[in-house]
Amino acid sequence: MTQVLRVEELTKRFATVTANDRVSFDLEAGEIHCLLGQNGAGKTTLCECLYGFYLPDSGSIFLDGREVTIRSPSDAIRLGIGMVHQHFVLVPPMTVLENIVVGTEDLAPIPNMGIAEKRIRALCEAYDLDIDLEARIWQLSVGEQQWVEILKALYTGARILILDEPTAVLTPQESEKLFQIFRRMAAKGLSVVLISHKLNEVMESDRVTVLRQGRVIGTVRPQDVTKLDLSRMMVGREVDLRIQKSTLGAGALALEVRDLCVLNDKGQRALNGFSLTVHGREIVGIAGVAGNGQKELFEALIGVRSIESGEVRVAGKDLTNARPKDVADHGVGYIPDDRFGAGLIADFSIAENLILGRQDDRRFNKGFLFRRHAVNELAASSMRDFEIVAPSDKTITKTLSGGNIQKVILARELSQSTVCLLANQPTRGLDVGVIEYVHRQLLAKREQGLAILMASEELEEIFKLSDRIVTLFKGEIMGILSGEEASVEKVGLMMGGMSAAMASEVAS
């Protein structure tokens, strides 16, 4: 095969942190190449150097055997390198066609839409992308929006496509479809660079380059290794991918939700007659693609979103439309999906985030002034117990890695929840080592008798932890399955809106 891209000894430093330390790797034509590594391993930095966001401190990049300097994304595009970011850059009220043309053309005063449309249709046909060019972005599913981003890159003539965690927001079926598209692109000679930390999809690529702490640990072919090998390379130690979950009899009724109806931010029904019970010593997993009412459910439960009708009880006490403080005081903790949007304050120190919500607790203040001693003690013990790695408890939270940030939330919420813990996507964006840690913490809390309601898009996680699995689609429960009844296929189909009975039939 012909080599299209080669990176030699690339180094990129940020102040004291070396994000990429003499990184070398190469890319062949028609190859799907995966960059695997934990958060902070340097995958994204490497790609951003390739796309001209950053200028490497040293090292060289060769394109078709010729050395190049990529100073800006426009340089990269000219050289045939395209990138699809984790967060899409699309204008929701505009059509697919307009988004592709406006985002890419060196705009003539009046762009020639006719010619553009023809070219885009040809691309869609070549890669078998079934998308309505006249549809407005907001009408599309997340998966389809991603196709638009890919089309944008192809439209500018990309031969090398870089994608930053493309499957993070997709259902299993959508991810599979995406990989089919990659296969077709590769078959036509395009090269795909994928950033990922999901071992399943990594196994589907042609080659994998594993990064750890800014260094390349090795480049391997998936057929030569096992998932365990890869996770060992990635984390640098043995990782237990299988967690033993003890069988516990469910305890007392802790959370009771009846006929809940809640509106979303646009004023539309996000939950429609949602009913569920969670007992102590039980983890109930909510499977479903994000945006099907999970966020609204949790927000209604903790008292920050008003409940139109229905009832919420925690340990028998009616907490329908209660104030957030009252809900917390009744022993309910919440781990939100959006860490900085809902979980903690980016510009606060670790210690401040750890007492957030408990600042009025007499333990931490003597009326007007804080008890520094008590606050420091809490910070020290939390950082020790939850293995939060930081220079000190005064460190500003936003400078921490994703895993440590999540541990700050865990430390606070786990100690606050005495009856019930709510968790929305508790491991989103975390790497294997931390995911394993979060899972162990959740299971430990289960053993202690807590009732846990957790929503996740990762079916693997749902299956690993849950005693019962609830599938949520468009604000309604498609079915509640016990751990034994559920299969990935069945739940996957239900996540797409199929009823439990139908899904069983199709699956069998």
């Binding site: 950053y54 200028l55 100073r71 900085f340 809902a342 957030l356 203040n365 804080f370």
Partner: protein, 360 residues
């Protein structure tokens, strides 16, 4: 995450620093001050005055003698209050632009009260006027807060409008009901001896308003840094959504912030009335609120920084007064200098977050 970047065809580019050090920021502020003086100097030159002489006079007027320093501090006193009023509101991301009205309201409330306290001893009148000065501004701030939280009225709009409403209300009061009988100017009669702020021993005309300003500065510093209340104020400023998720009542906290902010601004008004002019009139109060916004921002919204910035501007005003009289430099230059300092300061804080890199 993604660095903000800017590619320059000259072969350099700017990259965002992950962190900005205190030393770096100090250098940036000092540079900003130096550049501001350069630009101001050229303004003075354009105004037709002798630059060297004018600048010398500026410094002499501000620091040249003990009396100059004392006068600078007198000028600084109300600005420290309005700067602190800005700091507490802006820390909570509440854009109170109504310090101007709150200054007036504080003075008006306290003045109104003295009309009904004739003959009472100083021991009662003095604390009462201080408290009522605070109350006047606080009520106005509270109204803005209620409008904001109950009716979703944007506080920028309501505070800016309140500046006009209160200004015209005072104009009415001073044109008839409160006007000095037989007086020619639009001003009140002199306030009673008992209500006047005593001067600090040996530092006359510096009055106890300055000590109150220092006390409020320290109080606000402790409040923001070391108390649960200040913690909640900072929390709603950084991220009201997260604060609400963690059980903080954002609406009542916002109203409280506006009450405190308005009250502190009100202290500037009563301080000028009872400490300096001893009459209720416009000219001495006008502009204190707006300048306070500049000072709050210059002080980094930190009470101690505000104290420093307030004193700096007090010196600037006092020096400019001297410069105007002795070098014939127009008064407006001082206001222009305030704005110039703010602009360069704002630029410097942004620039200090970036570093320049040379492309190979």
């Amino acid at each position: 995450m993604n660095a903000a970047f800017l590619v320059n065809r000259l072969g350099i580019r700017f990259e965002r620093r992950p962190t900005t050090s205190v030393a770096m920021q100090t250098v940036a502020v000092l540079l900003a001050l130096a550049v501001s003086f350069l630009v101001s100097a050229s303004l003075i030159h354009l105004a037709g005055a002798d630059v060297a002489k004018a600048i010398t006079l500026l410094f002499k007027g501000a620091f040249g003698s003990q009396k100059a320093v004392i006068n600078s501090l007198v000028q600084a006193t109300p600005l420290i209050f309005t700067g602190l009023a800005t700091a507490i509101a802006f820390r909570a991301r509440i854009w109170n632009i109504g310090q101007e009205a709150q200054v007036f309201a504080g003075a008006m409330m306290a003045y109104w009260a003295t009309l009904h306290m004739a003959g009472l001893p100083r021991g009662i009148v003095l604390p009462a006027t201080i408290f009522l000065g605070f109350l006047g501004g606080a009520i106005l701030g509270g109204i803005v807060g209620l409008l904001r939280e109950k009716f979703r009225v944007n506080e920028i709009i309501s505070t800016v409008l309140s500046n006009y409403i209160v200004l015209y209300a005072l104009s009415y009061l001073l044109s008839e009901p409160w006007r000095e009988t037989g007086g020619y100017h639009q001003q009140s009669a002199k306030v009673t001896e008992a209500s006047r702020y005593p001067a600090i021993e040996g530092l006359s005309p510096l009055h106890i308003g300055f000590l109150i300003a220092i006390a409020v500065t320290l109080g606000l510093y402790v409040l923001l840094a070391h108390t649960p209340l200040g913690f909640k104020i900072r929390a709603i400023g950084h991220n009201p959504r997260v604060a609400a998720f963690k059980g903080i009542n954002v609406a009542s906290m916002s109203i409280l912030v506006l009450v405190l902010s308005g009250g502190i601004a009100g202290l500037a008004g009563s301080g000028e009335l009872f400490g300096v002019t001893h009459r209720l009139r416009f000219d001495s109060l006008q502009g204190l609120g707006y300048t306070g916004i500049i000072i709050g921002v210059l002080g980094g919204l930190n009470p101690l920084g505000v104290l420093l910035a307030g004193m700096l501007f007090g010196c600037l005003l006092q020096g400019a007064l001297y410069m105007k009289v002795l070098a014939g430099v127009p008064n407006a230059i001082a206001s222009a200098m305030e704005a110039i300092i703010l602009l360069f300061f704002l630029c410097s804080t942004v620039i200090s977050r970036y570093r320049v890199r040379r492309l190979k």
